[in-house]
């Protein structure tokens, strides 16, 4: 059967024959280019490309794998794919086999390949993290931990895929595609200055050289399988017809070998350059800096880190929800907290409060809360400052039991917490639960304390200024609100004099300090839910089993009802949802809460806090969305001990026997979101709905294409193993100085360029003049031996070379043509040179030359001199 191309060519041929009476038939080369040789040549190229790419990428990292096995499998695969186009049978059977192999590999070896891939990416992430000085990096779970097997399997699988793609690219000899398939992978180690074995580099270089040379030669194509006998491709374009020889397996081979040789020699010559670590972090520039940023994100969070709609450093989002694909904490220290730990429970420091949910955001819209009617004497207040040596025996230990006596006005008990703001990006104040801000002081001014924080802090403070805030312990929740006008700056220090966290084990009591009408205010303003969500989430509420809450006169039973709903919701999340820092962005046309509850079912604290706030509101329970920081027990393990004695910092009995004054530095990784629930008659309590992270959030519930793909990219958690000291920015010199230094640093290219340029120039000169040099040496040798015939022959050849070099004579011209050239010039009127060959000169030279060239009898010395004299008199005549 003929292919379409063959039929088309035959048609054109018949038409030409009919029209012009003659046509060029099928050209027969003297020796047929074997298809086997062409396929083998291509297999060699594929092997060079795949082996070079994979080994250049993997060997710089210390990953264990079976190199001989990978080499062998790459060789076999290269042969297999290159012979796919040998003929029709190999084409169909081969591709069928390919499909079966790929499918089988995917099913049988998926977890090996996945683990191998994750092993590689984990190692690369760690390497990049070291290079950039990051304190965390992306780390994924390797289901199979035997890296020797998994990495070997992955390399073989990846090599297989790469062989297929390279085979296609080499079928068209497309240099750009070949380059794009191979070069980005080897950038992985090269970018961070990890240099692979030069031999593998030579593989790649030789591939690029060969493909670059062959891409324009048109002689590399293996004829399609239907055109076994066709060795020429005939193409007609208007009045031009080209007949290209299709396959030159020998030519491809020789070109490949020449390229390999050239690459190895080249690498040998530039050996010093190749091993030189040119990468220097101090020699940076804007392009590299931008690329570095990109790579930092990738190494920290993987691909999903690029899908954030807005930047998320992992800190406070101030109510903005849903646009984060992956939380990316920078793990820089945000707060430095000095206090006396008294419990291992998590300490919540509240900052942002969102009261109104709309458009994927929990906004703070409501005005400040009520004042409470507390008063503290100025004397009491002033006596309680840090490091004061005054006796605080006036302090009464306040315990929850004491508060049952409603008639007693208790004396406040104080503790101090100094919070230093280290991150200028934070513009908020942080308050522990159940405290009152009673005193705030700066080095520059003092101001009377307010019972409730109402945003009295000045807008700007110098870094060294200490803002002292005194908080009074209250037995019941106090009413906190946040003022948006607060602008705490970096370095601000707020010292909280008293605090206590809400304990979930402590039953809620009636809060006598609640102002009249406050509860009505809460029920009026903290049940807002967007209308479009009520219908969408009603099924969820039914599924959870939440019951509608109504206000009752009995606050205690009301509280029970509220807490029961909260526990139902909490359990629902625990059983059906997963925790992850990389949940993926919410689609733009979906509401964050609705998408999380109905589709996504995985997320981090923001999702749980916002969803629970909305769901509870829907059943009539007032809630608020809160953001802030938490101090966990694990943070205390890394705390720095400041002093053993802490009398000036803590005035209550401490349940912890072994405690003291400590300093804890927390990062944006400690940023957190939670829900506040209003308990009737008691007040606002924080409630934690976020399930604990299991460290393994891979979806193993079933198989889906999404999970297959996402498993390759999903991170489990941020591997925050050890907080390292923050690496400060390298001090940047002035721009002009930077520029000059950068230009000077490019000298690394000048020396090798000069060396190679000189080498090539010498080589060119020698090679171009080699013929002349040989003739000259032969001439001298002949004269020494008095062989004037040979000497004259050499002289004539040299003279001919001069003429042809000047373009005055054809390369292959003989003596006769040379004489003819002079005859023509003599008869021309354009001759202007004085010394030219006369007729007699020409005849004489011809005679002597003929004798020298063809006669058995040698010419004499006199004849030689005459001929040389004549040649010497001749001048190059211009065209």
């Amino acid at each position: 059967m003929q292919s379409m191309l063959e039929k088309r060519q035959l048609k054109v041929k018949a038409k030409t024959l009919q029209e012009y009476g003659v046509v060029l038939g099928e050209i027969t080369p003297g020796h047929q280019a074997g298809r086997v040789l062409s396929c083998l040549a291509r297999a060699l190229l594929i092997f060079l490309g795949v082996a070079g790419t994979l080994f250049c990428t993997v060997t710089p990292f210390d990953l264990p794998f079976n190199m001989p096995l990978v080499f062998l499998s790459l060789a076999v695969m290269s042969l297999f794919v290159s012979f796919l186009y040998y003929n029709r049978i190999t084409f169909y059977v081969g591709y069928l086999l390919l499909f079966v192999l790929i499918t089988m590999t995917a099913f049988l070896l998926y977890w090996y390949i996945n683990s191998g891939y994750q092993a590689f990416t984990n190692v690369v992430s760690a390497a990049y993290s070291d290079y950039f000085g990051l304190s965390s990096y992306r780390e994924a779970t390797e289901h199979i931990t035997n890296r020797y097997i998994t990495v070997t399997t992955t390399l073989c699988a990846l090599g297989f895929i790469l062989c297929i793609f390279l085979n296609i690219a080499l079928g068209y000899m497309n240099l750009v595609v070949t380059f794009l398939l191979t070069f980005p992978l080897i950038q992985i180690p090269l970018y961070i200055g990890r240099v692979p074995n030069p031999i593998f580099g030579a593989f790649l270089l030789s591939l690029y050289i060969t493909v670059g040379i062959l891409s324009r030669s048109r002689h590399f194509k293996i004829p399609p399988y239907t055109q076994k006998k066709m060795t020429f491709l005939h193409i007609q374009k208007k009045k031009k017809m080209t007949h290209n020889y299709l396959a030159s397996g020998f030519g491809v081979f020789t070109t490949t070998l020449v390229s390999i040789l050239l690459s190895i020699v080249f690498l040998f010559v530039t050996n010093g350059l190749f091993y030189t670590d040119l990468g220097s972090k101090t020699e940076t520039n804007i392009v590299k800096a931008k690329t570095d940023e990109f790579l930092k994100i990738f190494s920290q969070t993987g691909l999903s880190g690029f899908f954030n709609r807005y930047s998320s450093t992992g800190g406070l989002a101030n109510g903005k929800l849903g646009g984060v694909s992956t939380v990316r904490p920078d793990y820089q220290y945000d707060l430095s907290i000095t206090y006396v730990p008294y419990t291992y429970d998590t300490l919540y420091l509240r900052s942002y409060v969102g009261d109104t949910y709309a458009f994927d955001e929990f906004m703070h819209t409501l005005p400040e809360a009520y004042d409470a009617s507390f008063s503290i004497s100025q004397n009491d207040r002033e006596s309680f400052t840090p490091n004061s040596s005054e006796d605080h025996s006036v302090v009464t230990h306040i315990s929850p039991e004491n508060t049952s006596d409603t008639s007693m006005s208790y004396k406040p008990a104080y503790a101090w917490m100094e919070i230093v703001n280290l991150d200028n990006a934070i513009s908020a104040q942080f308050y522990p639960y159940d405290t009152l801000l009673s005193y705030a002081n700066t080095a520059n001014f003092t101001h009377p304390a307010k019972h409730y924080y109402e945003g009295i802090l000045p807008l700007s403070l110098a870094e060294s200024d200490a803002l002292l805030s005194e908080y009074e312990l209250t037995p019941t929740p106090s009413l906190h609100a946040i003022d948006d006008d607060l602008q705490a700056q970096e370095g601000d220090i707020s010292t909280i004099s008293f605090y206590t966290p809400y304990s979930f084990d402590t039953p809620a009591k009636d809060n006598l300090s609640l102002p009249a009408g406050y509860e009505d205010y809460v029920y009026e303003n903290y049940l807002q839910v967007p209308e479009e969500l009520t219908e969408a989430l009603s099924d969820v509420i039914k599924e959870i089993g939440l019951t509608n809450h109504t206000r009752e006169n009995n606050a205690s039973s009301a509280r029970e009802d509220i807490l029961k709903n909260a526990r139902l919701l909490d359990n629902y999340f625990l059983e059906n949802f997963d925790y992850t820092m990389s949940p993926g962005v919410t689609p733009r046309n979906r509401d964050v809460v609705e998408y999380f509850l109905t589709t996504q079912k995985r997320g981090y604290c923001m999702h749980y806090a916002a969803s629970s706030a909305v769901l509870l509101r829907m059943v009539g329970i007032p809630t608020r969305y809160v953001e802030g920081y938490v101090i966990k027990a694990t943070d205390l393990e890394d705390a720095t001990a400041v002093a053993d004695a802490y009398d000036n910092w803590y005035f209550l009995e401490n349940d912890l026997a072994d405690t003291g004054l400590v300093n804890v530095r927390i990062t944006d990784g400690n940023a957190h979101a939670w829900t506040e629930i209003y308990l009737d008659g008691h007040g606002w309590i924080p409630y934690e709905f976020t399930p604990p992270s299991t460290g393994d959030d891979l979806f193993t519930g079933g198989f889906s294409f999404f999970s297959l793909m996402s498993d390759l990219f999903r991170t489990t958690d941020n591997a925050m193993s050890n907080l390292t000291d923050n690496i400060g920015d390298v001090s940047t010199p002035s721009k002009r100085h930077q520029g000059l230094r950068f230009i000077r640093s490019m000298s690394f290219l000048l020396k090798p360029l000069a060396f190679i340029g000189l080498f090539v120039a010498l080589l060119s000169v020698v090679l171009l003049n080699l013929h002349r040099i040989k003739l000259s040496l032969k001439n001298r040798q002949a004269l020494r031996k008095q062989d004037y015939s040979t000497a004259l022959r050499c002289s004539i050849m040299q003279y001919k070379w001069k003429l042809s070099h000047k373009g005055l004579l054809h390369n292959h011209a003989g003596l006769r043509e040379m004489m003819h050239y002079y005859e023509e010039k003599l008869s021309s009127t354009e001759v202007s040179e004085k010394h030219t060959l006369s007729d007699s000169d020409i005849i004489c030279l011809q005679d002597i030359s003929a004798k020298a060239l063809y006669s058995k009898n040698p010419i004499s010395a006199a004849e030689y001199d005459t001929a040389i004299h004549i040649l010497g008199n001749a001048r190059f005549l211009s065209k």
Partner: protein, 349 residues
């Protein structure tokens, strides 16, 4: 002759610049090596190609100078790269045509020149129409592997090959030629012109041609006996092939086979070859096979007529009596407008 390929040079420079900038910004040793390699490669590429060109030999030969229609004219091309460097971008530019059907198409044969290897190629030119084939091999270009520079080797070889019409045995009653009396008549044949008819056998006289010797009779007579031919009676057959239009090919075939037939029956005739460009005639007398080829060749060089009746009209002006002239047009042989022979339908080859 050498030619620089400006677009490729620009592309190459841009590529080097790209990698140079990449090396400058990212300071990678591999990139730096690529830059160096890219700087070195053009020089090496052009240098080695130049050296290889000097040792290149190109031989072109036409196997046969005359073929029959339907058979190919074969040209052998022998390329020999004596260097160690492969030349993968060799292009031979040539053109060919049948002079009756001029073609403006220029052909390029792209062949690789592997190192130290002879590369023979046979170029068969299939024919379907009679005529004169001309082949011109202009030059051989070799471009360096990076396509930056093209070297040209001038060849300027010209070949000609006649394509004879296919042979066909025909026969028809030959009309008697008209007698011309006037010497000014271009068709006038003076008496004394030797014909092919043997008048008598006589003894050899010095000066007789050896080919006229009747060897059989000489053996019998034991002396050399020479054939004496009849002299022309002042009249001769006149053939006028009309090369016009689509019947050209059929005309050639009919003409050729008519000539062969007439020679086979020992008729002497004159062929009038009409030159369409200036409407003049060339006359060739045919007495043997050799003359047929001569007439054909002259016919191949003639420009076809602009009109069907032009040749006869032009001849009529130059003769008193145009009767008896055998016109050959297409597959017909006509005398005074009457077809005395009609050939079979020809099938396209």
């Amino acid at each position: 002759m050498q030619k620089k390929n400006i677009p490729f040079i620009i592309t190459y420079i841009l590529t080097v610049l790209f990698f140079f900038l990449a090396a400058m910004f990212y300071r990678q040793s591999f990139l730096a090596i690529l830059v160096l390699l890219l700087c070195v490669l053009p020089v090496l590429s052009i240098l080695f190609t130049n050296l290889a060109i000097r040792k290149l030999s190109v031989d072109i030969n036409l196997e046969t100078f005359s073929i029959t229609q339907g058979f190919p004219a074969i040209i052998t091309l022998q390329l020999h790269n004596k260097s160690l460097f492969p030349l993968l971008n060799g292009n031979l530019s040539f053109s060919f045509q049948n002079n009756y059907y001029p073609s403006q198409v220029k052909h390029t044969l792209g062949v690789p020149l592997e190192p130290r290897r002879k590369a023979p190629y046979k170029l068969p030119f299939e024919t379907s129409k009679a005529g004169l084939l001309t082949f011109d091999f202009h030059e051989f270009h070799v471009t360096d592997p990076l396509h930056l520079h093209t070297f040209c080797v001038t060849l300027k070889k010209h070949f000609e090959c006649t394509v004879l019409p296919p042979q066909d045995n025909i026969s028809f009653p030959v009309p008697a030629p008209a007698k011309r009396e006037s010497e000014e008549d271009i068709l006038y044949v003076p008496e004394g012109e030797q014909t092919g008819d043997i008048k008598e056998l006589r003894e050899y006289r010095p000066g007789d041609k050896l080919k006229d010797v009747h060897w059989k009779m000489s053996a019998k007579a034991d002396t050399l006996m020479v054939k004496e031919f009849e002299k022309a009676a002042g009249h001769m057959l006149f053939l006028l092939p009309i090369l016009y239009g689509e019947a050209l090919d059929a005309t050639l075939k009919t003409f050729y086979n008519t000539c062969r037939y007439l020679v086979s029956i020992r008729e002497i005739f004159t062929v009038g070859i009409f030159e369409g460009s200036d409407q003049t005639f060339t006359y060739i007398t045919v007495t043997e096979e050799e003359h047929i080829l001569k007439a054909l060749l002259a016919l191949f060089f003639a420009t076809p007529s602009a009109g069907r009746s032009l040749p006869l009209a032009a001849l009529s002006e130059q003769t008193e009596d145009a009767s008896g002239i055998m016109e050959i047009y297409g597959k017909e042989v006509l005398v005074d407008g009457n077809a005395i022979y009609v050939g079979k339908e020809t099938t396209e080859s």
